[in-house]
Protein backbone atom coordinates (compact mmCIF):
# COMPACT_ATOMS: atom_id res chain seq x y z
CA UNK A 1 0.00 0.00 0.00
CA UNK A 2 1.26 3.40 -0.90
CA UNK A 3 2.31 5.48 2.04
CA UNK A 4 0.84 8.54 0.38
CA UNK A 5 -2.63 7.37 1.23
CA UNK A 6 -4.10 8.36 4.54
CA UNK A 7 -7.21 6.28 4.15
CA UNK A 8 -8.02 3.54 1.71
CA UNK A 9 -11.47 2.10 1.14
CA UNK A 10 -11.92 -1.26 -0.54
CA UNK A 11 -15.09 -2.99 -1.63
CA UNK A 12 -17.27 -1.21 0.91
CA UNK A 13 -20.96 -2.10 1.08
CA UNK A 14 -23.34 -0.51 3.54
CA UNK A 15 -26.84 -1.28 4.71
CA UNK A 16 -29.52 0.35 6.80
CA UNK A 17 -31.95 -2.24 8.11
CA UNK A 18 -31.37 -4.54 5.17
CA UNK A 19 -31.53 -1.80 2.55
CA UNK A 20 -28.24 -1.45 0.76
CA UNK A 21 -27.12 2.15 0.33
CA UNK A 22 -23.46 1.78 -0.67
CA UNK A 23 -22.26 -0.62 -3.36
CA UNK A 24 -18.67 -1.74 -3.59
CA UNK A 25 -17.04 1.60 -2.92
CA UNK A 26 -13.28 1.68 -3.31
CA UNK A 27 -10.87 4.60 -3.52
CA UNK A 28 -7.99 6.13 -1.64
CA UNK A 29 -7.69 9.42 0.20
CA UNK A 30 -4.22 10.84 -0.29
CA UNK A 31 -2.13 12.36 2.47
CA UNK A 32 -2.23 16.11 2.95
CA UNK A 33 -4.67 16.62 0.11
CA UNK A 34 -8.24 17.83 -0.17
CA UNK A 35 -10.64 15.13 -1.31
CA UNK A 36 -14.10 16.29 -2.28
CA UNK A 37 -17.00 13.86 -2.31
CA UNK A 38 -19.87 14.90 -4.53
CA UNK A 39 -23.17 13.37 -5.46
CA UNK A 40 -26.84 14.02 -5.37
CA UNK A 41 -28.82 14.16 -2.20
CA UNK A 42 -29.36 10.73 -0.68
CA UNK A 43 -26.61 9.04 -2.65
CA UNK A 44 -24.78 7.95 0.48
CA UNK A 45 -22.12 10.59 1.10
CA UNK A 46 -22.86 10.99 4.79
CA UNK A 47 -23.05 7.23 5.17
CA UNK A 48 -19.63 6.89 3.58
CA UNK A 49 -18.28 9.51 5.96
CA UNK A 50 -19.71 7.60 8.93
CA UNK A 51 -17.74 4.56 7.83
CA UNK A 52 -14.56 6.59 7.58
CA UNK A 53 -14.87 7.95 11.11
CA UNK A 54 -15.73 4.56 12.54
CA UNK A 55 -19.30 5.34 13.53
CA UNK A 56 -20.73 2.65 11.27
CA UNK A 57 -18.94 -0.68 11.27
CA UNK A 58 -18.19 -2.08 7.84
CA UNK A 59 -19.96 -5.38 7.31
CA UNK A 60 -18.22 -6.22 4.09
CA UNK A 61 -15.33 -4.33 2.65
CA UNK A 62 -12.61 -2.60 4.54
CA UNK A 63 -11.41 0.81 5.52
CA UNK A 64 -7.68 1.17 6.05
CA UNK A 65 -6.09 3.99 7.97
CA UNK A 66 -2.43 4.32 7.05
CA UNK A 67 -2.50 0.68 6.01
CA UNK A 68 -4.21 -0.58 9.15
CA UNK A 69 -7.62 -2.18 8.96
CA UNK A 70 -10.09 -0.09 10.91
CA UNK A 71 -12.15 -3.20 11.59
CA UNK A 72 -9.29 -4.57 13.65
CA UNK A 73 -9.03 -1.48 15.85
CA UNK A 74 -9.79 -2.17 19.49
CA UNK A 75 -11.28 0.51 21.68
CA UNK A 76 -7.89 2.07 22.29
CA UNK A 77 -6.89 1.98 18.64
CA UNK A 78 -10.12 3.67 17.71
CA UNK A 79 -9.64 6.32 20.38
CA UNK A 80 -6.13 6.99 19.07
CA UNK A 81 -7.45 7.35 15.55
CA UNK A 82 -10.20 9.65 16.68
CA UNK A 83 -7.82 11.91 18.55
CA UNK A 84 -6.24 12.60 15.20
CA UNK A 85 -9.43 13.53 13.40
CA UNK A 86 -11.90 16.39 13.48
CA UNK A 87 -15.44 15.99 12.24
CA UNK A 88 -18.03 18.54 11.21
CA UNK A 89 -21.42 16.81 11.08
CA UNK A 90 -24.00 17.73 8.51
CA UNK A 91 -26.26 18.97 11.30
CA UNK A 92 -23.46 20.71 13.14
CA UNK A 93 -24.15 18.51 16.18
CA UNK A 94 -23.30 21.21 18.70
CA UNK A 95 -23.97 20.36 22.34
CA UNK A 96 -26.99 22.50 22.92
CA UNK A 97 -26.63 22.77 26.68
CA UNK A 98 -23.20 24.40 26.31
CA UNK A 99 -22.14 27.78 24.94
CA UNK A 100 -20.18 27.94 21.73
CA UNK A 101 -16.86 28.29 23.54
CA UNK A 102 -17.70 25.48 25.94
CA UNK A 103 -18.50 23.33 22.93
CA UNK A 104 -15.03 23.89 21.58
CA UNK A 105 -13.55 23.27 25.01
CA UNK A 106 -15.04 19.78 25.39
CA UNK A 107 -12.29 17.80 23.65
CA UNK A 108 -9.62 20.05 25.17
CA UNK A 109 -10.94 19.55 28.69
CA UNK A 110 -11.07 15.78 28.27
CA UNK A 111 -7.76 15.22 26.54
CA UNK A 112 -5.47 17.90 27.92
CA UNK A 113 -4.58 19.53 31.21
CA UNK A 114 -4.63 23.02 29.79
CA UNK A 115 -5.80 25.83 32.04
CA UNK A 116 -9.22 27.35 31.50
CA UNK A 117 -7.66 30.59 30.32
CA UNK A 118 -5.55 28.84 27.68
CA UNK A 119 -8.58 26.90 26.53
CA UNK A 120 -10.59 30.09 26.26
CA UNK A 121 -7.94 31.75 24.13
CA UNK A 122 -7.75 28.63 21.96
CA UNK A 123 -11.48 28.60 21.34
CA UNK A 124 -11.35 32.29 20.53
CA UNK A 125 -8.59 31.60 17.98
CA UNK A 126 -10.63 28.84 16.37
CA UNK A 127 -13.81 30.88 16.35
CA UNK A 128 -12.03 33.85 14.82
CA UNK A 129 -10.91 31.49 12.06
CA UNK A 130 -14.51 30.79 11.07
CA UNK A 131 -15.62 34.38 11.67
CA UNK A 132 -17.53 33.83 14.89
CA UNK A 133 -15.26 35.48 17.44
CA UNK A 134 -18.10 37.69 18.63
CA UNK A 135 -20.29 34.75 19.53
CA UNK A 136 -18.09 33.07 22.12
CA UNK A 137 -20.74 33.01 24.82
CA UNK A 138 -23.83 32.38 22.71
CA UNK A 139 -25.87 29.24 23.08
CA UNK A 140 -26.20 27.13 19.91
CA UNK A 141 -29.93 27.86 19.86
CA UNK A 142 -29.13 31.56 19.50
CA UNK A 143 -27.16 30.98 16.29
CA UNK A 144 -28.36 30.76 12.72
CA UNK A 145 -28.02 27.51 10.80
CA UNK A 146 -24.93 28.62 8.93
CA UNK A 147 -23.34 29.96 12.11
CA UNK A 148 -23.95 26.63 13.80
CA UNK A 149 -22.16 24.94 10.95
CA UNK A 150 -19.19 27.24 11.35
CA UNK A 151 -19.13 26.79 15.10
CA UNK A 152 -19.11 23.05 14.45
CA UNK A 153 -16.13 23.54 12.18
CA UNK A 154 -14.33 25.49 14.88
CA UNK A 155 -14.98 22.62 17.28
CA UNK A 156 -13.71 20.10 14.74
CA UNK A 157 -10.48 22.10 14.58
CA UNK A 158 -10.08 22.35 18.34
CA UNK A 159 -7.51 19.60 18.74
CA UNK A 160 -5.44 20.59 15.65
CA UNK A 161 -6.51 17.43 13.83
CA UNK A 162 -4.42 15.71 11.17
CA UNK A 163 -7.49 14.61 9.27
CA UNK A 164 -10.55 16.79 8.90
CA UNK A 165 -13.95 15.53 7.77
CA UNK A 166 -16.51 18.14 6.84
CA UNK A 167 -20.03 17.30 5.75
CA UNK A 168 -21.42 20.13 3.62
CA UNK A 169 -19.69 23.05 5.33
CA UNK A 170 -21.26 25.67 3.11
CA UNK A 171 -24.88 24.56 3.06
CA UNK A 172 -26.97 27.42 4.34
CA UNK A 173 -24.18 29.96 3.86
CA UNK A 174 -24.16 33.00 1.64
CA UNK A 175 -21.71 32.86 -1.29
CA UNK A 176 -19.21 35.18 0.37
CA UNK A 177 -18.98 33.29 3.63
CA UNK A 178 -18.91 30.02 1.68
CA UNK A 179 -15.97 31.26 -0.36
CA UNK A 180 -14.28 32.24 2.89
CA UNK A 181 -14.64 28.68 4.13
CA UNK A 182 -13.15 27.36 0.88
CA UNK A 183 -10.16 29.62 1.43
CA UNK A 184 -9.87 28.41 5.01
CA UNK A 185 -9.87 24.77 3.88
CA UNK A 186 -7.15 25.49 1.35
CA UNK A 187 -5.16 27.40 3.97
CA UNK A 188 -5.42 24.51 6.41
CA UNK A 189 -4.08 22.14 3.81
CA UNK A 190 -1.39 24.55 2.73
CA UNK A 191 -0.07 25.60 6.10
CA UNK A 192 -0.76 22.63 8.36
CA UNK A 193 -0.72 19.87 5.78
CA UNK A 194 -4.08 18.61 6.91
CA UNK A 195 -5.74 15.75 5.09
CA UNK A 196 -9.22 17.06 4.39
CA UNK A 197 -12.34 15.26 3.19
CA UNK A 198 -15.18 17.54 2.16
CA UNK A 199 -18.71 16.59 1.19
CA UNK A 200 -20.33 19.28 -0.90
CA UNK A 201 -22.98 19.97 -3.48
CA UNK A 202 -21.30 23.10 -4.81
CA UNK A 203 -19.54 22.23 -8.03
CA UNK A 204 -17.66 25.52 -8.19
CA UNK A 205 -16.33 25.25 -4.71
CA UNK A 206 -15.44 21.59 -5.30
CA UNK A 207 -13.39 22.41 -8.36
CA UNK A 208 -11.70 25.23 -6.48
CA UNK A 209 -10.58 23.27 -3.44
CA UNK A 210 -10.30 19.67 -4.63
CA UNK A 211 -7.03 17.88 -5.24
CA UNK A 212 -9.13 14.80 -5.81
CA UNK A 213 -12.79 14.55 -6.62
CA UNK A 214 -15.02 11.58 -5.92
CA UNK A 215 -18.39 11.48 -7.66
CA UNK A 216 -21.07 9.16 -6.36
CA UNK A 217 -24.42 8.17 -7.73
CA UNK A 218 -27.06 6.23 -5.83
CA UNK A 219 -24.57 4.41 -3.67
CA UNK A 220 -22.12 3.69 -6.46
CA UNK A 221 -18.79 5.24 -7.17
CA UNK A 222 -18.97 6.98 -10.52
CA UNK A 223 -15.59 8.56 -10.89
CA UNK A 224 -12.44 9.42 -8.99
CA UNK A 225 -9.85 11.85 -10.22
CA UNK A 226 -8.50 15.37 -10.24
CA UNK A 227 -11.06 18.05 -11.10
CA UNK A 228 -9.62 18.26 -14.59
CA UNK A 229 -9.89 14.54 -15.11
CA UNK A 230 -13.46 14.57 -13.92
CA UNK A 231 -14.34 17.45 -16.18
CA UNK A 232 -12.86 15.73 -19.21
CA UNK A 233 -14.62 12.50 -18.34
CA UNK A 234 -16.48 10.68 -21.11
CA UNK A 235 -18.93 9.03 -18.75
CA UNK A 236 -22.48 10.08 -19.54
CA UNK A 237 -23.70 10.19 -15.94
CA UNK A 238 -20.70 12.16 -14.75
CA UNK A 239 -21.12 14.65 -17.53
CA UNK A 240 -24.76 15.01 -16.78
CA UNK A 241 -23.95 15.57 -13.13
CA UNK A 242 -21.43 18.22 -14.03
CA UNK A 243 -23.82 19.92 -16.41
CA UNK A 244 -26.44 19.77 -13.69
CA UNK A 245 -28.89 18.21 -16.06
CA UNK A 246 -31.93 16.54 -14.72
CA UNK A 247 -31.78 12.85 -15.28
CA UNK A 248 -34.28 11.24 -17.61
CA UNK A 249 -36.65 9.77 -15.16
CA UNK A 250 -38.03 6.85 -17.12
CA UNK A 251 -37.47 4.17 -14.53
CA UNK A 252 -38.75 6.34 -11.76
CA UNK A 253 -41.85 7.37 -13.67
CA UNK A 254 -42.94 3.78 -14.02
CA UNK A 255 -42.54 2.93 -10.39
CA UNK A 256 -44.18 6.22 -9.54
CA UNK A 257 -47.20 5.43 -11.69
CA UNK A 258 -47.51 1.89 -10.41
CA UNK A 259 -47.43 3.28 -6.92
CA UNK A 260 -50.12 5.80 -7.71
CA UNK A 261 -52.40 3.52 -9.66
CA UNK A 262 -51.95 0.29 -7.79
CA UNK A 263 -51.03 -3.10 -9.10
CA UNK A 264 -53.13 -2.86 -12.27
CA UNK A 265 -50.48 -0.71 -13.81
CA UNK A 266 -47.55 -2.94 -14.77
CA UNK A 267 -44.33 -1.33 -15.85
CA UNK A 268 -43.59 -1.90 -19.50
CA UNK A 269 -47.13 -2.81 -20.57
CA UNK A 270 -49.01 -0.81 -23.16
CA UNK A 271 -51.21 2.17 -22.71
CA UNK A 272 -54.57 0.43 -22.97
CA UNK A 273 -53.75 -1.34 -19.78
CA UNK A 274 -52.88 1.93 -18.18
CA UNK A 275 -56.22 3.43 -19.09
CA UNK A 276 -57.87 0.39 -17.58
CA UNK A 277 -56.08 1.14 -14.40
CA UNK A 278 -57.25 4.70 -14.33
CA UNK A 279 -60.82 3.79 -14.95
Amino acid sequence: MSSHNMIEIRGLDSHYKGRQVLFNIGFAIPHKKVTVIMGRSGCGKTTLLRHLIGLKPSESGRVFVEGQDMGSFDEKGMANYRRRIGVLFQSGALFNSLTVSQNIAVPLKVHTRLSDETIRIMSLIKLHLVGLADFLDYMPSQLSGGMRKRAGLARALAMDPEILFVDEPSSGLDPITAAGLDDLILELRETLGMTIIVVTHELESAVKIADQMVVMDRGNLLAVGTPDEIRSSQDETVLRFLRREAEEQQVNTESYLSRLLGRQYKAGENSTRRQGGVR
Partner: protein, 101 residues
Protein backbone atom coordinates in the same frame (compact mmCIF):
# COMPACT_ATOMS: atom_id res chain seq x y z
CA UNK B 1 9.99 19.30 27.94
CA UNK B 2 13.17 21.10 28.88
CA UNK B 3 13.05 24.82 29.21
CA UNK B 4 16.15 26.82 29.84
CA UNK B 5 16.27 30.26 31.28
CA UNK B 6 19.12 32.71 30.80
CA UNK B 7 19.44 36.17 32.23
CA UNK B 8 21.41 37.64 29.38
CA UNK B 9 21.47 41.26 30.42
CA UNK B 10 20.01 43.12 33.39
CA UNK B 11 16.76 43.78 31.63
CA UNK B 12 16.95 41.03 29.08
CA UNK B 13 15.94 37.43 29.60
CA UNK B 14 16.13 34.57 27.18
CA UNK B 15 14.13 31.38 27.36
CA UNK B 16 15.10 28.49 25.18
CA UNK B 17 12.43 25.89 24.53
CA UNK B 18 13.25 22.38 23.44
CA UNK B 19 10.71 19.97 22.09
CA UNK B 20 7.14 20.26 20.88
CA UNK B 21 4.99 23.06 22.21
CA UNK B 22 1.53 21.56 21.86
CA UNK B 23 -1.48 20.73 24.01
CA UNK B 24 0.48 18.02 25.86
CA UNK B 25 3.42 20.18 26.88
CA UNK B 26 1.71 23.57 27.03
CA UNK B 27 0.47 23.35 30.66
CA UNK B 28 4.00 22.94 32.03
CA UNK B 29 5.62 25.50 29.77
CA UNK B 30 2.88 27.93 30.66
CA UNK B 31 3.57 27.53 34.35
CA UNK B 32 7.27 28.13 33.93
CA UNK B 33 6.85 31.07 31.60
CA UNK B 34 4.31 32.80 33.81
CA UNK B 35 6.59 32.29 36.79
CA UNK B 36 9.51 33.81 34.92
CA UNK B 37 7.46 36.81 33.89
CA UNK B 38 6.20 37.32 37.44
CA UNK B 39 9.45 36.84 39.34
CA UNK B 40 12.12 38.28 37.13
CA UNK B 41 10.24 41.29 35.96
CA UNK B 42 12.59 41.60 33.05
CA UNK B 43 11.69 44.37 30.73
CA UNK B 44 12.05 42.19 27.72
CA UNK B 45 11.72 38.47 27.22
CA UNK B 46 13.03 36.58 24.27
CA UNK B 47 11.81 33.08 23.54
CA UNK B 48 13.97 30.95 21.34
CA UNK B 49 12.04 28.47 19.20
CA UNK B 50 14.91 27.06 17.18
CA UNK B 51 14.64 23.72 18.97
CA UNK B 52 10.86 23.54 18.73
CA UNK B 53 9.79 21.31 15.84
CA UNK B 54 6.09 21.69 16.42
CA UNK B 55 3.97 24.52 17.70
CA UNK B 56 0.27 23.86 18.28
CA UNK B 57 -2.67 26.13 18.90
CA UNK B 58 -2.27 25.47 22.61
CA UNK B 59 1.27 26.86 22.36
CA UNK B 60 0.04 29.93 20.54
CA UNK B 61 -2.59 30.46 23.23
CA UNK B 62 0.05 30.27 25.96
CA UNK B 63 2.16 32.79 24.06
CA UNK B 64 -0.83 35.11 24.03
CA UNK B 65 -1.09 34.79 27.80
CA UNK B 66 2.61 35.50 28.24
CA UNK B 67 2.38 38.48 25.93
CA UNK B 68 -0.52 39.80 27.95
CA UNK B 69 1.39 39.44 31.20
CA UNK B 70 4.46 41.13 29.70
CA UNK B 71 2.57 44.10 28.31
CA UNK B 72 0.87 44.56 31.66
CA UNK B 73 4.35 44.94 33.17
CA UNK B 74 5.37 47.24 30.38
CA UNK B 75 7.79 44.73 28.92
CA UNK B 76 8.13 43.25 25.47
CA UNK B 77 8.02 39.75 24.15
CA UNK B 78 10.07 38.59 21.22
CA UNK B 79 9.95 35.25 19.49
CA UNK B 80 13.07 34.13 17.68
CA UNK B 81 14.08 31.12 15.67
CA UNK B 82 10.57 30.22 14.56
CA UNK B 83 10.44 27.55 11.89
CA UNK B 84 7.94 27.57 9.04
CA UNK B 85 5.42 25.47 10.91
CA UNK B 86 5.42 27.73 13.93
CA UNK B 87 5.22 30.86 11.82
CA UNK B 88 2.25 29.44 9.95
CA UNK B 89 0.51 28.40 13.13
CA UNK B 90 0.80 31.96 14.42
CA UNK B 91 -0.41 33.39 11.13
CA UNK B 92 -3.31 30.96 11.03
CA UNK B 93 -4.35 32.32 14.42
CA UNK B 94 -4.22 35.76 12.76
CA UNK B 95 -1.59 36.85 15.26
CA UNK B 96 1.21 37.41 12.80
CA UNK B 97 1.35 41.13 13.37
CA UNK B 98 1.18 40.97 17.12
CA UNK B 99 4.13 38.61 17.31
CA UNK B 100 5.87 40.30 14.39
CA UNK B 101 6.46 37.17 12.38
Amino acid sequence: MPLRFYQTEPHQALVKLEGNFDSDTAPEIRKSLIKIVKNKGSESLKIDFSEVPNLGTAGVAVLVEVLRAMTRKGGALELVGLNDNARQMIRLARLGEIFQT
